[in-house]
């Protein structure tokens, strides 16, 4: 998997209530959720994605708060292909893996990256480049266990594989 895109930059502790406010959780329709993604902290989110902002770069503890899987689902359905953060809250981390939203913990890259920087990420080699800044970083690979889930396209697909063995 390779991703090229412009950065939408957020700070620390972006919580699931701002990723997708609970007032919209009366549906789990992903396209519907995507319409409201980030609206309380970034009214221009959808426009930024439309203009090529397909990579979120954030600070520490991204996705803290609720267990709502609607949060990574809204980000993914909203057109974001990759989230890079200094660290992720634990339920968001597993939810992203389980639904197949690519995420990377890479503090060194986050610390030099600004809004609208161009990023090129090669998920297979783990090499991620901030092209605007001309700097390249190596992300630690996922453990094989988690790679299996990602390669299957999510947790339930990995279950389907086990069932059909």
């Amino acid at each position: 998997m390779q991703f090229n895109g412009k950065v939408i930059r957020y700070g620390d502790n972006v919580d699931t209530d701002v990723i997708i406010p609970a007032r919209y959780l009366n549906t789990s329709d992903r396209a519907e959720l995507a319409k409201h993604c980030m609206e309380d902290i970034d009214a221009n989110f959808a426009d930024k994605v439309k203009n090529g902002g397909t990579i979120i770069v954030a600070g520490q503890n991204f996705g803290c708060g609720s267990s709502r899987e609607h949060a990574p689902a809204a980000i993914k359905a909203g057109g974001v292909e990759l989230v890079i953060a200094e660290s992720f809250a634990r339920i968001f981390y597993r939810n992203a893996i389980n639904i197949g939203l690519p995420i990377v913990e890479l503090p060194a890259l986050c610390q030099i990256t600004e809004e609208a920087d161009e990023i090129a990420a090669d998920m297979d080699s783990g090499v991620i480049e901030n092209k605007t800044k001309g700097k390249t970083f190596a992300a630690a690979p996922f453990p094989p266990f988690i790679q299996t889930i990602i390669e299957a396209g999510g947790l339930l697909n990995s279950l389907n594989k086990e069932e059909t063995k």
Binding site: S28, C64, S67, I91, N98, L159
Partner: protein, 422 residues
């Protein structure tokens, strides 16, 4: 290798002698829980998967509590999805309007969790049951679907932080003040991916209601779980609520902890978390300005137990709530509601000018039943004060204990419960 209390429970649930921090495991789940928002999403995933039947319907619980009684047509559809699924799959532990309550109060009160259990819930506050000496943690809807289908869940075994408690609370200080103090000290990611294990002489001074509140908010420090050792109070609670035979685990004496904090309970004071993070804590005595408020909420999975209502009512005494303040009281379950009526608490709340609601999570997450307008401020016994959490993105939520929240309702501004004379 010596293990923490959490690691022992995880090892027992994946058929291993030991697990250590960082091990990736598939564990057997004793109970999988979901609510109207997350279970409906889990059912959609389950139905898309190859699974046809739940692995064990007796190990699945669904509680309709977030937008229930149905706040709108879409919420009604979500409950209908859960209702039909439980009927088809033979899931008896389905709690709907009439016998539902807020999930994390309902499950222990119905005796569905016992010491030593491994419980997952598609709700971040599932960590509450650590108060009973169980390993419990919040997961997503896909995890819930997977556990319904297979009876299993994947985990990375966590490292742990130890909190050694001593002393006892002063008057009008409770578990909420303790956990707010801890989050203020270590931050909202201070326990990220880790267990918070509570120990020390002070544990025996904590009532079960306080232990539930403390474990409930472990997630607000980023923790995977919070957990208390089992003692006489735990065993009495489990017996009273008809829970299964407890399986008692203890941390090894030489277990490794990444950090250790000592807390003297007698030094704690009424504490408030300011917007927009639970770590923005100050003791009430440190607040030098008048913060006038528009609303209070007393309830939620954090503080909607009978003891919480009693503590609020004690502070309220015969006072009326201040002009211009809307006070919303939400007993967490039907049984608590009935008990509060029996003790005359509900009458006192209503005479004071509060409204009392049927159990619901409604206002805590800005769902319904107490939404804030732009610029409004609330003091609440709930667990999060993020941007837009209880309504408009320019509204503000201050988190506090039931005693402090009741005092604020009387004063119309943030004050200490010790300043309100009963």
């Amino acid at each position: 290798m010596p293990m923490t209390l959490t690691q022992k429970i995880l090892a027992a649930h994946c058929g291993r002698e030991e697990v250590k921090s960082g091990d990736l495991i598939f564990a057997d789940v004793d109970l999988t829980m979901g609510n109207d928002i997350t279970a409906s999403a889990a059912i959609a995933e389950f139905n898309r998967s190859a699974a046809k039947k739940a692995a064990d319907p007796n190990r699945i619980v669904m509680v309709m509590d977030h937008f229930v009684p149905n706040k709108d047509i879409k919420a009604a559809e979500q409950c209908k999805t859960c209702r039909s699924f439980c009927r088809e799959q033979g899931i008896d532990k389905f709690y709907d309007v009439g016998d539902m309550g807020i999930e994390h109060t309902l499950l222990p009160d119905k005796g569905l969790v016992t010491a030593g259990d491994l419980v997952i819930g598609a709700d971040s506050h599932t960590c509450t049951y650590g108060a009973l000496g169980a390993f419990s943690t919040g997961v997503g809807s896909t995890d819930m679907a997977y556990a319904m289908a297979s009876g299993k869940v994947w985990f990375k075994a966590p490292a742990a932080i130890r909190f050694v408690l001593r002393g006892k609370f002063q008057k009008n200080v409770s578990g909420k003040d303790l956990i707010l103090h801890i989050i203020g000290r270590i931050g909202v990611d201070g326990a990220l991916y880790r267990s918070m294990e509570f120990t020390g002489e002070g544990v025996k001074e904590l009532e079960m209601c306080d232990r539930f509140t403390v474990c409930n908010m472990a997630i607000e420090a980023g923790a995977k779980n919070g957990i208390f050792p089992v003692d006489e109070k735990t065993l009495a609670f489990l017996k009273e609520h008809g829970a299964a035979e407890p399986k008692i685990y203890e941390a090894d004496k030489d277990a490794e902890y990444e950090a250790e904090y000592e807390i003297d309970l007698s030094e704690l004071e009424p504490t408030v978390a300011f917007p927009y993070l639970p770590e923005n804590t100050r003791t009430v005595s440190e607040i030098n300005e008048d913060i006038f408020i528009d609303q209070v909420v007393i309830g939620s999975c954090t503080n909607g137990r009978i003891e919480d209502l009693r503590r609020a009512a004690d502070v309220l005494g015969n006072h009326k709530i201040a002009d211009g303040v809307r006070a919303i009281i939400i007993p967490a379950t039907q049984q608590i509601y009935l008990q509060a009526i029996k003790e005359g608490l509900i009458q006192r709340f209503i005479h004071a000018g509060c409204v009392v609601s049927t159990p619901t999570c409604g206002p805590c997450l800005g769902g319904y039943m107490g939404i804030l307008a732009a610029g409004e401020k609330a003091v609440s016994t709930t667990n999060r004060n993020f941007v837009g959490r209880m309504g408009h993105k320019e509204s503000q939520v201050y988190l506090a204990s039931p005693a402090t929240t009741a005092a604020c309702a009387v004063a119309g501004k943030i004050i200490s419960p010790n300043e309100v004379e009963g």
